[in-house]
Subunit: 139 residues, 2 copies
């Protein structure tokens, strides 16, 4: 959890990606259906990092050595203030097996949806590049 | 935190209200500006209890004797599935000083907004009744 927080705060998205389990399940604040796998989750998190401004963690809930953590944050998307939370559920090896994000208020969630929609093509490209690279390295 | 969870699960809204600090700050999933005070917060929570169907807590994060807790829940509003979280911050006497709720996905937050808007008059009436009762008892 500390490693995830430190990586996000350093805007080090490679380090964030390295903390994800291969079969991570990512539940977004906007879409009901979860995304599955490291490639698409990493691509989405890179887009989120581009979209959020003035991002800062404000409170952490969960035991330091536990498997579940809630990291409350504040940020802006365009001119909308957003409060949100990253929920991390770690697997036995300490990788992030489930990542769920919620945000409030409704105006902030709508601004986030619009900003993420504008990132759609780049997300799809980056997810594909990651999957191709992984398939190549598995050959 | 256990008392709050038990009260919510028993649909005992008087017990929920008794756990709130007089100057509780309630941040809703829909509206940016927080609500302040026990009367309006209790009235809103009663409306939420009428609006959510099949409500169940699914995960609790936070140390049992700590001041901060995250209670993840699932529910339905009309035909929309909602995931959400109650964040409790307790004061030194164990009362709930801050209660923040977030929900996902966007379609669920929108359904919740519509359902809560339909409760507006009853919320305003119940909040007023509580304030009047408190003013009378303080005379």
């Amino acid at each position: 959890m500390r490693a995830f927080r430190a990586a996000v705060e350093a805007h080090d998205m490679d380090a964030v990606e390295a903390l994800l389990a291969d079969d991570v399940v990512f539940s977004s604040p906007v879409v009901f259906k979860p995304y599955r796998g490291k490639a698409v989750t990493a691509a989405i998190l890179r887009a989120v990092e581009r979209v959020f401004e003035d991002f800062r963690y404000e409170r952490v809930i969960g035991e330091a050595d536990g498997r579940d953590h809630a990291l409350l944050f504040a940020a802006r998307v365009d001119d909308r203030e957003i409060s949100g939370c990253d929920f991390l559920h770690l697997d036995a090896s300490g990788r992030i097996a489930e990542l769920t994000v919620m945000v409030r208020p409704l105006s902030g969630a709508q601004a986030l949806q619009a900003a993420m929609a504008a990132q759609f093509e780049r997300i799809a490209e980056e997810a594909q590049e990651r999957q191709d690279a992984r398939a190549a390295s598995a050959d």
